[in-house]
Subunit: 148 residues, 6 copies
């Protein structure tokens, strides 16, 4: 790790929370009136763990989601996959993020179906149920001509 100069450190400290918020806006296509868009950053917990949102925004979004290496579409595809493999209820929110960053519905379904040999049918069927709900809510249809 390259250590930062004093000035860079100041900038980093000021910018880290904002950098995370900016990343969330980029991922959710949200506007400035509702900067975190549909992303759950744990604001519901401000009365029991007010620091939680800071970890979500600064660590998950400013550090990890802003890291180079893979692009936003790959990041969300990877996130969806991890959640399907673990059966977590956050799948829906991240499918929505996937659509927002430009993953096609065919890519999202393709990713989930691809997981059958690795996680088994039940996890995939459960995830597709969620995907179907998100697609209906977002008015998105899937072009299935290639797989019929």
């Amino acid at each position: 790790m390259a250590f930062n100069s004093f000035e860079e450190d100041v900038t980093m400290a000021e910018d880290r929370y904002q950098k995370g918020i900016d990343k969330i806006q980029e991922l959710t296509s949200s506007d400035d009136d509702n900067p975190t868009g549909f992303m759950d950053i744990g604001e519901a917990f401000k009365d029991i763990a007010p620091d939680l949102s800071k970890y979500v925004v600064e660590f998950a979004f400013a550090d990890i989601y802003s890291r180079p290496g893979i692009d936003n579409k790959q990041k969300v595809l990877t996130t969806i996959t991890a959640l399907v493999a673990q059966g977590k209820p956050q799948i829906g929110m991240h499918i929505k993020t996937g659509l927002s960053v430009g993953l096609t519905p065919e890519e999202i379904v393709g990713c989930v179906v691809h997981l059958i040999p690795y996680v088994g049918f039940p996890s995939v069927l459960n995830a597709l149920t969620v995907a179907k709900e998100v697609f209906a809510e977002q008015g998105v249809t899937v072009d299935t001509s290639d797989v019929e």
Copy 2:
């Protein structure tokens, strides 16, 4: 699902095992002398479950890996993610496949590091240990200038 004509069915029956082998060759850049390359299709089990390789080749590779929706690079990224989330020893073989289909080492590391907020540090550290071994074995170096 569109049902196939009789002739298509014949072709499909003949071709399904071959289609899976072709897909494996495409994924592993293997030649015809060793068509399954470094991919473990379960041939070690021919004396206890001789039909297993058929399921691997025909279902995993002819059906699932050949399905449209996501491309080979996305398929392998998704596979690696599922294996990291579950802590399976097959991670190494699929990192090798990733390099073979054109994922850069930066993308593979980027994918694994991206999983920290979803699967925690221990799973990621374990996966990076395997990635490092595969990279060393394959003579691959990672350009880290962007993340230093």
Copy 3:
């Protein structure tokens, strides 16, 4: 794996989907008007992944459930166990299948309770809640005289 003659291949191709449906009928005691009975083969996803049902029927039921080695009762007991160990919501449907293939309610409960030392109490209590609901729905009572 023994390779098939051309004629066998034709037959296999024609029969694979039907073979899976036949197996489901056998497992669910369903009639020809509703051949898949209460088994969820993923038909709800025909607008987002129309090929999914084909994988369920042809791979899960024609290939795997039709494989010799263990009988139907053992297959369903094994399936229920895997779902209890993973905490999947499909447990109920497979308990229903268990009753249909002749597992007694005592065997189903015996299997779930047997898992306590391997998966812990919470997973077992959650699965018994589902079992109780299925038994009530099916009008099945459990003979508990031996374990009181």
Copy 4:
């Protein structure tokens, strides 16, 4: 293991179920009219697995919860952690037990938030949702002045 004398054995046999009930009363601060308090010992399953409550009371509470080594507060903290790591719905009941044995709400939240690096954000967010519900139901507030 030290083997018991005949008299000790008799006492142990008589007392094991009672010892478990006593432990549950201690953990839940329940009175004699409702000795198991809010603890689910599986009584709902007396028509399908009447021996289950015995295993819960005698093994989980008389053997394990009564074992020396760690105190009640540590036992419940450990239990909550295991349930968060596995995503089990029993988290709520054991958070209630935690409050009953004297864990502060700050300790319970502190434990759950501490798990982020080991189990990831989604499991922690799901557990905090349950914690928040239990705290509201129990009229408990969290002092967050230290973490704001």
Copy 5:
């Protein structure tokens, strides 16, 4: 649960450890010189947790393995399945137990292969590697004529 008379309680207290040992002998076909046979009851931990073996013998074997509902073959099949679903290293010891209680190698392999649609290929391939080792060690061969 039916409460026991005083005399039954005495008998139960005296017999519970012995009952567990007897069950282990039955499961492992062990003789009196080595009553626990190849079963790991945690005796390696007598210097750090000397009570552990008691819980294994009395709870796992006297309570759970001795419970009516399913027979020994079903119990071991269920145990193997739970361990495959979780990827635990104890799979080998329980495959050995399976052979000892009369499960055929075809049934053991049949059970593991049956799990592919529920736990995915990697877990099944890992389990078959262990099965193959146990079969080799035990001089057992698998009749594969039906699945070739």
Copy 6:
């Protein structure tokens, strides 16, 4: 979350990495010549993911391990529990940390044994094998007089 003044931000930026290192020294009783002691902060990955150690030190140790709510002994007990529940190989390093922060070997064993009803025997036996190795390496003996 209270937002920081400009000066606090500067301090925080300068101190965050150091704060994490200080916490690791506190946890591992390490001296300044080897400030991270036996804690694996991912330094082995500096050629493939040089930023990883920064996330470990700054997020896991400066943010999370330094958070008030639970004390160091509770934090390590909670960490060990999460790793036992998931079967991760990092258990040993954190048992070592537990001894370093003052958890007695009886507390560590007590915690692991307490998990039997929640994670099952196999995970607990595997963790005790690691605990035994660490205790031997550290010359630590367990007082078992209370549980014999």
